[in-house]
Amino acid sequence: MPSQDSKKNFALLRDRILGRSGKDYWRSLEEFVDAPEFEEFVKREYPDHAETWDDSLSRRNFIKVMGASLALAGLSGCVIQPPEKIVPYVSQPEGTLPGRPLFFATSYSIGGVAMGLLAKSYDGRPIKIEGNPEHPGSRGATDVRAQASLLDMYDPDRSQHVQFRAEPRSWADFQTAFRAAIDQDRPNGGAGIRFLTETITSPTLIDQFKRLQAELPQAKWIQYEPINNDNALAGAKMAFGSTAQPIYHFEKAERILSLDDDVFSGFNVAYLKDYAAGKAWSPEKTDINRLYVVETTSTLTGAKADHRIAVKPSQLTEVAKAVAAKIGVGGATSTYTDNGKWIDAMTRDLMANKGKSLVVAGRTASPVVHALAHAMNNALGSVGQTVTYAEPFSPGTDRAQTDQLRDLVTDIENGLVKTLVIMGGNPAYNTPNDLRLDFNRLNTKVPLRVHLGSHYDETADICHWHVPEKHYLESWADGRAYDGTVTMTQPLIDPLYDSYSKYELVQLCFKENFDKKDYDIVRAFWQTQNVSAPAAVATTAAAANTARPTAASPANNASSNNANSAPASGTTAAGRGSQANTAGSAPAATSANAATAFEDRWRKYVHDGFVGNSAATAKTVTANSAFLSQPQPSQPAANGDLEILILPDPNVYDGRFANNGWMQELPKPLNKVTWDNVGLVSPKTAEKLGLNQSNRAEEYVGGDHGIAFINTKGTNQFSDTVDLTYQGSVIKNVPMWITPGQPDDTITIFLGYGRKRAGAIGNDIGYNVYDVRPSTALDFGTGSVKKTGEQVTISSTQIHFNMEGRDILRSWDLEAYNADTKMGEQEDMYPKSLYPYEQHQETYEHHHRWGMTVDLNNCVGCNACVIACQSENNIPVVGREQVDRHRMMHWLRIDAYFGGPDINQPNGPHFQPILCQQCEQAPCEVVCPVHATVHSAEGLNDMVYNRCVGTRYCSNNCPYKVRRFNFLLYQDWDTPQYKLMRNPEVSIRSRGVMEKCTYCTQRIAAARIEAEKAGLSKVPDGEIVTACQAACPTNVFTFGDMNDPESQVAKIKKNDPRDYKVLNELNTQPRTTYLAELRNQNKEMPDYLNPETPVGENLSQSPNTL
């Protein structure tokens, strides 16, 4: 909100312009003058701060108080330290050293896919999530959700005790009441009992349900999750006659076609690692993979595509058929005629790489598309090469989840359900609007409703009993990774609250032995399993292993680092036992030592975080294309002129992260929107509908060597809101966002917002799509929009997409680059400096010279690094209003620039992570009046928080705009949960202090101290892994000592000709350098951009379409 002052200033400005320049000029400036915020956004890094005052204290009063306190200001350094206590253990658990973090293998499951993690425990408190380098689904990296899941555990809004009709009760009360209800139904075989869960792959839980089936044969278990695999499983059934789960091997795929599959936003960082291995360029490996994407909205995968077309969701099936027909899938005919050349050339390329190509189909694509993808992979000889199949890991997949839910609703309406046990998920919020499990439906029909969940959410609200669920860092569990590898979850901390797990709740239904802890349940199950001699090891596991040397070298670094500081990662969190026995898998156990053999085995499972060689056995299936002659299910009735596509939100997903401040504030990968969901619309359609037209969108800027960047400059600064009708239901006030790359006449809306009972952070943000999402059109359908005439401001962290003609992001054509790798050479500006610099250089020569490279070629913009940085460095969440003023605090941001000469057919956006460049000649340092930012001997641009007085000169002088200022007291000093969560190795910054990336100086210090204690004069390469580097699934970041010629970073900087400095002309001599992105274009494609064509000329002819 602009204040009165700024309004007045702009009114003056407007008058002046009016007076001088006449009517025409006025018109062109009208928007500009009416939009002071816009002007401020582009011109200043921190808009508005001069005009606004957030505290109740007025500015004038503040100055008065300051005047008085100035007299004492000199004494501010001599504060007496407040008295502190030291509280040692009574008896110290073996293996713990106070102040020395330990790493424990655990795992996190979402959508039925488990990812192996190492959780860092500092004096018993989990404070950071890392990937488990040994786990096949993680290989040392994590995704953004796993990183953010830490904050969920410390969420102060979690429910803290068992409740009955919102009244506190004890677990014993619940046990009695619940068991009474179960017992009542026992004579009927549990006919009135229904369990509703999300997708479950946990072998223990599946076993529990199986055993429960024997006691209560009539009880039913329903799995429903709003974002599920129904289409993929139905497609597999069509193609193979039975369900099967494809497991991809991107590392072997040289040509990849994605049919609307957003692989890079999936749960599985192993795929990202594999893709990055194929995409990686080095002077030794100049061949890289090629990614074709046909998609229905702009996604991360589309952003990375070498060739991409956008089609309407309804067209996708026909496009897939057209592609299939060309590839030679029998019986495939298509009505789709556009993009013929594109499909021709693309399919020729796929077929030329038989056995090395791969077709993948996306979750929202219809079953036919999935079936076609299987048939195409078959025709391309990919099966067994780039794709293998396995039995689905979750039981009951022969019935689609939506149908399972429909059965449940039918049973409820027929009064058959006496006890409904909802474990996890939030069905009162996220079920389709015609199958909504809401109060009206359940109230009179289901006499007992039980909810197990981490929050007292929408579903808890409609249930009699609410039982708090343990966070995964508090509980024992197991699950399966993407390839079926059994993955263990162990707790890092005793439950913060009186909470329970699914296992414990299900156990209550048994007649005997019902009161068991999750540890005993999971352990007992594995005692019955003999996995030491697994059935034929799946090819998938082998494939994952072969990919490792190329793909995962930083992951190996991470492992060695972790190994150093995690001597006792095998101890259980409960403190039992000391060192894990890592005696390999149990040898053939004789009956005499079976117990110890199991103990060894169990310890190894828990220590490793997974069961070795437990990946799924490959399933042999043969695709046939008979399904093409089957009648197709009819598309939902058309009732509107637009197509609406529904996707999970990239951050809050299906709504489960709605109360996670990190996720809410995280800029969405493609449009950098925070704290909101928007509706995406293409530039053409926006013009047609008159949306967001108050600022002109289009502006081109030429780049080097064949890439131009489109700037959607300020277009979306003011978003028009619309009332959106989907399948006859209306969502009010959807803010629209113009997105280049969105297909015309298609609007994408996002799930997960509009929650009413998420908690203090997530309530009442955005619009709720579930209210209009019927079970007949879960993913897309037709609809219409009506402009409301109102505008809202969306908090986006990147409004200015203009590189202003500077050489900031490089994205080059692969072939042109391979022909001339010298094309990007930069002039060394060093000799031009007026100031003598030898003294500093001499210092740097004698110390570590920390440096980093950022490989833009591999970056897919997944945001994992941003949250990893936030978690590692105690970066606060500032809230929507502050983001609006551009006061977000992320030390690492990912900038996105669209490329190409046509705003309607862009490529990208291309991603560029920007963190402090650690300039050797840092412009920020020379302007600091109090020496709060100075260089260290190792060349780090140190930020000394306790010296900073907050002049912000440094930020003003930083050309990379990476400094962040605590305008207000953003840190929450009071909430006890957050105190537990913070990294004690990093200062917590208060109001009035500048902060920025330090290359994780705490990790550097820890490694340096360990190395020096070991008598080394240098820290060995790979010992220091920065938080962003550790999290990155695609090996974008490389960090190390540039003075060590054997270090990876030195080798890259020396040998990789793609290496360049951003804003080299300023002679800041940044330690962080970038490696150019390469696009492996196919020359035969109609959208091939000739790198020889001077881009500027192209641009002047491009039609002004918006």
């Binding site: 001997a937 000394v944 550097i1004 020096e1012």
Partner: protein, 203 residues
Amino acid sequence: MVMVVVLAGVAFYVYTQVARSSYLTGRYLEKQQPVQFSHKHHVGDDGIDCRYCHATVETTATASMPPTQTCMNCHSQLFSDSPYLEPVRASFRENKPIEWERVHDLPEFVYFNHSIHIAKGVGCSTCHGRIDEMPAVYQENTLQMEWCVACHRDPQNKIRPKSEIYNMEWQDDDLTADERTQLAKDYKIRDRVMLTSCSTCHR
């Protein structure tokens, strides 16, 4: 004009003296502890090694306070009915930690690491003084940055052989300046620029 300058000078001098006074730094201030524990008795009279209680001083950032268990190792036998030790026994009985008053308290933005100082030949008494002569421990030095940096600038003045780290009677001039300079080389102590870089202590 002269008066103003003189007054300002005097004011500054007073300020520096106040800032360094033990009133503000807590230097020489004995603290009342929940247990009347005497280092003079345990270290000076009994000759118990520092590391018996401060066990992690060589491995982690903190020297660490001993768990009650460590006290009970001896005091389940010795003076097992002394009223002075009742808080210790109570702690052990009730599984409730003893809450000690912190004597050496650095600000939160300083990341001091004991283990590296031990590894580089800085002895206990260099910073903590003659603990073996203190019935109640007090802070021997100001712990102000100027005091830290004095040694970080010229570390060779304050180091000793590894064998003497825990020797309370060690004096800096027990070795000649040359011997100490050689020691600094042997320990591979980093140069002044490195040791006085901000990020060496502040993160």
